[in-house]
Subunit: 332 residues, 4 copies
């Protein structure tokens, strides 16, 4: 029998999850969709699914075996805790919660469930962990194919920042991907960070320093650099180059077609993260559903990963507010 | 309810289809697997599926809504005709049949069913039609983004030819992909072909001229060239460049990682067709299952496409046997 | 003492040669420039050089040690023969002559000089032989780095054909580069050729079939293909891929800068042959001057190479006029 | 008449200069070569040139119009001052001098000559300013093709550090290229810098932190990052990416040939800086000689550029010794 999934939030992310669950992965069926806007829920849901504006109704419905939380960040912690109460497995989009306090609360509740049942109910949507490029990069790094990693260079560019994005939200919402993927890639926690401003683009709203430049030191000594540029205009770019003792390995930015026209050789750059990480989202959902169907622990990021990334983000924000001083990450 | 699929043939292709149907696409479930080698069938089948060495039992089973034929080429026509008798939708791996006579028989039977029911039961596994690169290339060509297409250059290289491959089988088994994809890409049938030998590689078995070089003229006047090289050693390559009035558009050969090591910049080349066309096989199966589930006609290649490709192959073999003379394709 | 060079023809090619001889190579000085248009000659010549509208005056001047012929193709043979009479070394732009008859005459006169003096006076401007990419490609092929070459794929595209270019001139003026470089690359003469039309671009003048597609068979059995497209619009492209037993080696189309802008990754494509082969022209001139200064035989193409290329061109034109029939090349 | 050049130092760099001056640029002739090792001088010098172990003899020789200083760094300042005394134009390899004190002395002497004669005698060998890629990049940046530059990412990797290289010498000898090229590229002086260690490679000698990571802030606000890795093993890499308001422009790492072999697509990476910057050295020498021949001021870097780069290097070393603290550059 397919896993019957309820999806909370039918915005861009939620609608993508619903489409994937219904058409591009095996073993699942969307039975319930909740959104404050019932019309939006209906538009995204398959015909056979129930619709509600009340997520609590969905979480506690007998038609739902598992829940995807893709609603606004501010709702994540509360909805996850409700799922815990209903003992329902939940895949929550990152971040775990906008504030550390809420993250800590969820981690604690999750720990209680693990203590009681031996298994976590929570999977966190750091989908890059399922991107075939990052997966292959991690295999190469952890296999020490080129010896010890010494430095990692990351670049993360969006075409345009979301309205109201501040320098802090740029860290908690965008850089958060690197703050999770680097410790995952290197198998070593971030110990200290630093933040610097690039020259300010005229395109950034007040309150957002853009671009910004960050460094992360992990416990294994590797130094990672990250350029974050949310108003890059030209398109969406994610780069990750691992510099090791005997060589370098980096994600390839590929495109379907090569074009020669008007005096230039061209390749299309994705406009946003969705085409770039379409495989990652699909493979992440498939891993989650297959694990639930097989009664195994999903291999997705968990509550502690979400908390760790938030703690690194907090240290980065501290550095931002202290003139770029290198700041330790405190995990206690 | 998921479409219950029976898979005939649990070799490389069949096992891939079973894995896809069970884990990476939505709306399907493998309920029955047939192979002459019961052990091979059991090894490939999900635990819940029935096993048989008798494909007829599978085709006529009440546990099966649709059939995938991935057995030896020589069995394709017979099994498809059995499916027709059982009025069961069937996805048959290319080629439709090794001989024209069998292809004609299947096309005729298919036409009878269409006449009787208004819909075909047969979909043919020319999976390249679902490769995201070819799909994007076709959109660009048919959208005349760069004006009229004037020439197309194709390259098709395998690391090593299958045992017993002859110059003729190279055409009916390997070049057959281009003989189908070019008319599909250009929206115009192949009218004439020519065949030439490259210098013979010392790696080819007797009976196989390798590499070979072919040209196809389509009704729209476009000239397509194809290098087919089955013992290329270094890996698997598929190239397709459309040269139009204002520019060129070509498939990009991408790899997950870029590597710098030992004095060279490197990117991995797939060893065979499976990693290169993994998306195509998955998307093709998903399109077939979604169409069956939705009661629509699948958008896959059909019987006539299979026959057309075989007729072009026949003309190519004629050219091969007539010193490369340009040979008309007869569709009557 | 620098070699004092007289340049006949101050058009695009002649002016480039004058600039190179004066500023970017060692051991030469332009002392005399001839052009039917004295103004054009003066504009191209260095201040210290003499100007004339009479090439014979230049050839026989005591201020000239060596002559570069860069005037209209139709004048090549006559001027070369005058240089022979004046026993003056001459670098003549390709082609040797527009007609076979004239080529044969020059080759005979050259042979007489070689018989009399032990050295040829004539070097022919097939500059691709000095292009660092072709040089490296030849080293790899002749070093059998990847085993026996089996096929070669060439592409030669201009943005726009010269006014009055016919299908025949496209062969004698443009394809002539490949008709020379392939035997040089493989170390094996062309034995047979074939010509086919692509679909006609609406941009071609009457009398020019564009694009066209040619094959060359060399004595070593290798099959070379050549797409020639003179109205490609988008820019200038030269490709050469050698397909061998263990792999492929191809010229890289490089550009100085990689650009990300407006949703695409871009690299500039040269507008015409001059930036693409700037190094080749400079290195060719340097090799000629250094050989003359050192009293050695220049390593440039010679009279026989020019004749050979013309004989292959003649066979190709024959194929063009005989419906693409594969046509033997006659060197006798 | 060609400019008669004396070359001091016939090591790797000196020998390259001698070869270029003699064979690949116009308007020059090597008449005198000095090296402590007379044998090495003779091996590098053209037959017609005089040889000495005494550079003072060369500087004051009537056979010498201009001097190239390519001897050990420690000799640069003294030899340049001797050339000033002999009123002989001099091209000195970078760095201007190993110590600031010596640099200041040379700058002062140069200023006196400029005051007295209206022209400087000194050109400094920051050859990257003549690399066609950097030149094109500068044109794009200064032409604001993509709007304001906001960040620049540089990578500089050697296969192996020179014996005895310390963290400080890595800055004054290797990073010095970026410390010069960034202000030249952006048209804005460096105002502050910071230094961080990457994880240490097991290949580095004691005293050398490798790799290291540096940032430069220029007066225009642009933040530049530089990874310097001297024991990268795999080859020589120079990268420079300018991130601007509307897009990015970066140097392309090109190679002559593309290779497909053993399951990978490969391109050769230069083993060291010489093939990578061969054009730059040739074009720099040609610009110097052409300027001297034409009585114009050479467009090469000058004394002040050398001093400026040394002052930035000094600040970087200060940051290195103060735990990476961001350190102002003082130009007074």
């Amino acid at each position: 029998m397919p896993i019957r999934v309820g999806v909370i939030g039918a915005g861009v992310m939620g609608a993508d999850h619903i489409r994937n669950l219904s058409t591009t992965i095996g073993g699942a069926k969307v039975t319930f969709v909740a959104d404050l806007d019932a019309g939006r829920a209906a538009a995204a849901a398959p015909p056979s699914a129930r619709i509600t504006t009340d997520p609590t109704e969905l979480i506690n419905s007998s038609d739902v075996d598992a829940v995807v939380v893709a609603s606004h960040d501010s709702t994540h912690a509360g909805l996850v805790l409700e799922c815990f109460e209903a003992m329902t497995p939940v895949l929550c989009e990152k971040p775990l919660a906008p504030t550390l306090l809420e993250s800590l609360e969820v981690v604690a509740a999750d720990a209680d469930i693990v203590a009681a049942t031996g298994a976590s109910l929570l999977s966190l949507g750091f989908m890059r962990r399922f991107d075939p490029g990052y997966v292959a990069l991690r295999q190469a790094v952890q296999g020490r194919v080129q010896g010890e990693p010494l430095m990692v260079h990351c670049v993360s560019r969006n075409a345009a920042a979301g309205p109201g994005t501040t320098s802090e939200l740029a860290i908690t919402n965008s850089a958060i991907h690197e703050l999770d993927i680097i410790p995952w890639l290197l198998g070593s926690p971030v110990t200290e960070v630093s933040w610097q401003a690039g020259k300010q683009t005229s395109r950034a709203e007040p309150g957002l320093q853009d671009p910004s430049f960050m460094t992360l030191r992990t416990a294994d000594g590797t130094l990672t650099t990250l350029e974050l540029y949310l108003n890059a205009q030209y398109g969406y770019t994610t780069r990750c180059e691992v510099v090791s003792e005997q060589g370098t390995t980096s994600l390839q930015e590929s495109s379907l077609l090569g074009i020669e026209q008007d005096g230039t050789r061209q390749a299309v750059i994705p406009a946003d993260w969705r085409p770039r990480f379409a495989d990652a989202y699909r493979l992440q959902l498939q891993a989650w559903i297959s694990a639930l169907a097989g009664g195994e622990a999903p291999s997705l990021a968990g509550a502690q990963d979400g908390l760790n990334a938030s703690l690194v983000a907090q240290a980065m924000i501290q550095s931002l507010h202290s003139d770029g001083t290198t700041t330790k990450v405190s995990y206690s």
